[in-house]
């Protein structure tokens, strides 16, 4: 399989690229900074003896036509597109700089939507293909933290539902995951708490479920319960959950 991973320089994207390379797939890593992508590509090619390449693209303003040409030229096509990138901001608690706010929306929604839109013709074809996106448990209910981040991820999730509707009946499987807390820089620099899992565990589950059902799921699965409680919590109680 030829897989493109958007946001592959660190965290879940990097872990996912590792799982795909380990399974013998050809991988194209995409992220903002080649200085981070080059070591990932070298590491995976050396350890798993598979072809791993990289391309730079900034999700805040991606040149999607150029990215698509680059991918098609270097790989000669693609079978799977993984949109993993995400960006959080400590200041996302109400009043933040406009440029920072726009960057949150761009990296978490506009950029991914542009990229998916550009690659859609390549995924809508006769053979089987995969489109996988990652959202967050922060998008279950609007809270006073990660306000814009959660909204953008919720928007992305909505877009994935629309894509699933559009692509239903064809060969492309559309999967979306609400990922729980992982030990990545998204968590900040605090010590990982009890609910925090290694991104490798989530990545492995995503690869194992590639041929599973389309639609939305929680990873790790226990977040389903947490999210359910959060969703059912009546407002008088929910409003107290503020730090």
């Amino acid at each position: 399989m030829k897989a493109v991973v958007i946001g592959a320089s660190a965290g879940l994207g990097r872990a996912l690229a590792g799982c795909l390379a380990e399974a013998g797939h050809e991988v194209m890593l995409v992220a903002r900074d080649g200085r981070d992508l080059d070591p990932v590509a070298r590491d995976l090619s050396i350890r798993f003896d598979t072809r791993v390449q990289w391309l730079e693209a900034d999700l805040a303003a991606p040149d999607v036509a150029e990215l698509r040409t680059g991918v098609l030229e270097r790989m000669g096509g693609l079978d799977a597109l993984f949109v993993i990138a995400g960006l959080g901001d400590d200041a996302d608690t109400g009043i933040m700089e406009d440029t920072a706010l726009r960057r949150l929306i761009d990296v978490n929604f506009s950029g991914p939507a542009s990229i998916i839109n550009a690659f859609l013709p390549d995924l809508m074809r006769d053979g089987p293909s995969h489109l996988v996106g990652v959202g967050s448990v922060a998008a279950v209910r609007g809270r006073s933290r990660n306000m814009v981040y959660g909204s953008a991820k919720r928007g992305l999730e909505f877009y994935f539902e629309a894509l699933r509707h559009r692509l239903d009946g064809g060969g492309c499987r559309v999967q979306f995951y609400r990922a729980g807390f992982m030990d990545t820089t998204m968590l900040g620099n605090e010590r990982p708490g009890p609910l925090v899992v290694r991104p490798e565990a989530v990545a492995r589950a995503m690869v194992a479920r590639l041929d599973g059902p389309s639609g939305m799921a929680y990873l790790p699965r226990r977040w389903l319960l947490v999210a359910l409680i959060l969703k059912l919590l009546p407002w008088p109680l929910f409003r107290r959950m503020r730090r």
Binding site: S9, P39, I46, R47, D90, T185, G188, N189
Partner: protein, 437 residues
């Protein structure tokens, strides 16, 4: 965008603590920024002294930079990012028939930490210390940018960085020479000895190329003769691929499991009897178990209880080992302190700058922290100076500046070369401040 987190750091054993800041970057652009205030690189954060943190200092964890950048099986070299752990590296190298020559006993230790501490392995006489196997490294310094160091490029700075306690900047990548890994198990034969002196004689005589060579002693018995075992280990070359390590259990240096330590004289005597029984005959271990003996039982460190422990490792010139051992015995009795661990290893290498290297016998003791232990260690400092011994700076969490100044003739050179490279001294730690750097 993510602020560093406030955190109370401890070294392994709780010998040194400080309130600082913790940051765990995962992108190279982090090193483009000029940091505000003092900072220090952190590997696994498992050293026995406060080398990776300091009061008000930003500790920058390198663990997310853990990739293999280049591997040349023809030449037997590998280039890795500094945050890769010895365990992960072993997992990659062992099935391919290679081994990092010098490895401390715990697999979570990072390669960057091994370089900064110029650590030793299980036979420092034959294999030297970690720095001997480093052929090149990339360093990033906030004021100097990214620098490639090797025998041809800035060799002075390479020398300062190996065993430089992270004070020259962030080590980004390291190129290492490797040793071929024989396919068979490691067979270790324990030789029974009645005293420390007898072990010292055997260790001095065995200068052939055993892969493992060290001794272990029981100082809890009356008379403190130090009866124990000399371990001579050899890697057998059999046509079989070496096993990869079993599950490593995390060693949490912040954990204080037992409210009251059991490492008093009676407890230590019991543990020592168990240890002696475990080693009643020759043992065959796979390469992983022999390389990382501490991976399976991190609980050992918790036995010291809430107050933790401190370690003192001394490099004794061969001529005075007998005198040192006799004086140590008397000091243990005077202070009524029983070491939970006493290990000796023959050493080699060149004593440059602040490196714990040179010809001699190293003797390490680990004791429960407390007033008696501190008094004992202060007396050991004086003994070290008197007999021309040197203490391992990276292992002793309370080693005072005066002791370092008296024992290391390279201190002034180290200080002036560090100041010439970085006049603003951006990198600082509890350790560097304590020893007056």
């Amino acid at each position: 965008m993510t602020a560093p987190a406030r955190r109370l750091f401890h070294c392994l054993g709780f010998g040194e603590s400080a309130l600082g800041w913790r940051e765990s970057p995962d992108r190279y652009r982090f090193f483009d920024r000029m940091p505000q205030g003092a900072c220090i690189p952190m590997g696994a954060g498992l050293s026995l002294a406060g080398a990776s943190f300091g009061e008000g200092v930003r500790s920058v964890e390198m663990r997310r930079f853990d990739r293999i950048l280049d591997f040349d099986p023809a030449q037997g070299t590998i280039t890795v990012e500094a945050g890769i752990t010895l365990g992960r590296l072993f997992e990659f190298l062992a099935p391919r028939g290679w081994l990092v020559a010098v490895q401390p006993g715990y697999p979570d230790i990072t390669v960057g930490g091994c370089v900064a501490g110029n650590v030793h392995g299980k036979n420092p006489l034959a294999h030297g210390c970690f720095g001997r196997w480093v052929t090149a490294l990339e360093l990033a310094h906030p004021a100097q940018g990214r620098l490639c160091l090797s025998a041809d490029q800035r060799p002075d700075l390479l020398e300062l960085t190996i065993g430089g306690f992270g004070l020259t900047g962030w080590i980004l990548s390291v190129t290492l020479r490797l040793l071929p890994l024989p396919g068979g198990p490691v067979v270790t034969e324990p030789v029974k000895v009645d005293s420390l002196e007898q072990a010292a004689e055997i260790l001095a005589a065995r200068k052939d190329g055993a892969d493992l060579l060290y001794s272990w002693h029981d100082l809890a018995m009356p008379g403190r003769s130090g009866a124990g075992l000399v371990f001579v280990g050899r890697h057998l070359d059999e046509p079989k691929v070496a096993a990869i390590p079993g599950r490593c259990r995390a060693l949490d240096q912040d954990r204080r499991a037992l409210p009251v330590g059991v490492m008093n004289r009676a407890g230590i005597a019991v543990l020592n009897r168990m240890q002696a029984w475990r080693w009643r005959g020759a043992k065959s271990q796979d390469a992983a178990a022999a390389t990382f003996p501490f991976a399976a039982n991190p609980e050992y460190f918790y036995l010291y209880g809430r107050n933790g422990f401190i370690e003192h490792q001394t490099l004794i010139p061969w001529g005075v080992t007998g005198t040192y051992i006799a004086r140590l015995r008397r000091l243990l009795d005077r202070h009524s302190v029983t070491p939970g661990l006493c290990v000796m290893k023959p050493f080699g290498g060149e004593p440059r700058l602040l490196r714990f290297e040179g010809d001699g016998l190293s003797l390490a003791i680990e004791v429960a922290r407390g007033r008696a232990a501190l008094a004992l260690f202060a007396d050991l400092d004086a003994l070290d100076v008197e007999l021309g011994c040197r203490a391992n700076i990276l292992k002793d969490a309370r080693l005072p500046a005066a002791a370092v100044a008296a024992q290391y003739s390279g201190l002034e050179t180290f200080r002036s070369r560090l100041l010439a490279f970085d006049p603003d001294r951006l990198m600082q730690s509890s350790l560097s401040r304590r020893i007056g750097l």
